[in-house]
Symmetry: C2
Subunit: 198 residues, 2 copies
Amino acid sequence: MSPRGRRPAGEDTRGLIVRAARAEFGDQGYDRASIRGIARAAGVDARLVHHYFDSKSALFAEVLDVPVNPAEVIGALIEGPPEELGQRVVRGFLSIWDDPAFRAPLLVLIRSGLSSEDFTDQVRGFVERDLVGQIVRGHPRTRALPAKERRLRAGLIGTQMLGLALARYVLRLPGVADAPAEVLVARLGNVVQGHLDA
Amino acid sequence: MSPRGRRPAGEDTRGLIVRAARAEFGDQGYDRASIRGIARAAGVDARLVHHYFDSKSALFAEVLDVPVNPAEVIGALIEGPPEELGQRVVRGFLSIWDDPAFRAPLLVLIRSGLSSEDFTDQVRGFVERDLVGQIVRGHPRTRALPAKERRLRAGLIGTQMLGLALARYVLRLPGVADAPAEVLVARLGNVVQGHLDA
């Protein structure tokens, strides 16, 4: 069977490539993942990957776009009593990470952002703008603070959320990797709330 | 000039290679760093690197061993009032990371541990055993807790310390990357202390 005969072109093939790319980027990080490896995992010819995506970085951008619409997710978390925003943030964060469909692209983001300077800016922008920036703007007391203090609090919350993702899902640190989600919601929700209320 | 004539062999050459390796591993991560690149950075022939170190992983182990003796550093932090242990931990952690001589090998550790599955175990072991495990054993109230609860608290402190390193030194998240150390000591020392006292 010729390689280009393996799969028909079309929407499904594109989706197949994106799913394979997500897994490859997640396993290998951006730098080590290759179009050839992605094509192999998708069961298609590398030329077919190039037909849909100009470059590895175009494919990566596609993978990053898929997972979650952070504006929507965080917008939903912000609804509710401000004094429980910290807990809602941690609960929402864990429910996204604990869903295998989301975890793979998020692992891509975190691994690639940390291992390759090329993507540090991208990940920093995502965390600052779409993750913690939105949270502090969603709390009435924090929103009213001067920009510098608000930015500090967003950053402090960022350390906690990044560290949680890293310890639980990447490093699999005992005590955190095996803790029930609600234990983490209680203990770390409190930490996030402290930064919002302080 | 022949490559092997560039530098005399001996202690200085070995030290030169280790310093070059530390910088290369830090910049490139474990997987992308190469003996050839390290030799080039050290201004020596690659054969000379092989003369001192059997393999890239032997060189990496050497680099990891250099930075800090965590037992000593944390032993020193534990001395003092238990109600300020959280602040001392954050202050000690920042003073190590803010010292360029230590930051480079620590960046190696964190980048390599996160980007390459091969080193996840090594970094997890370091964080669990040498970093947070020692801290919770150094606090009288936490030390007396059942092992499972102590492990959870060590893990929670681990999320904060990892996230701080990541946000401030790797991702350079605004608000945290540019905060004075003492601001972080006050705000995050409080978080660590909360996990110890809770």
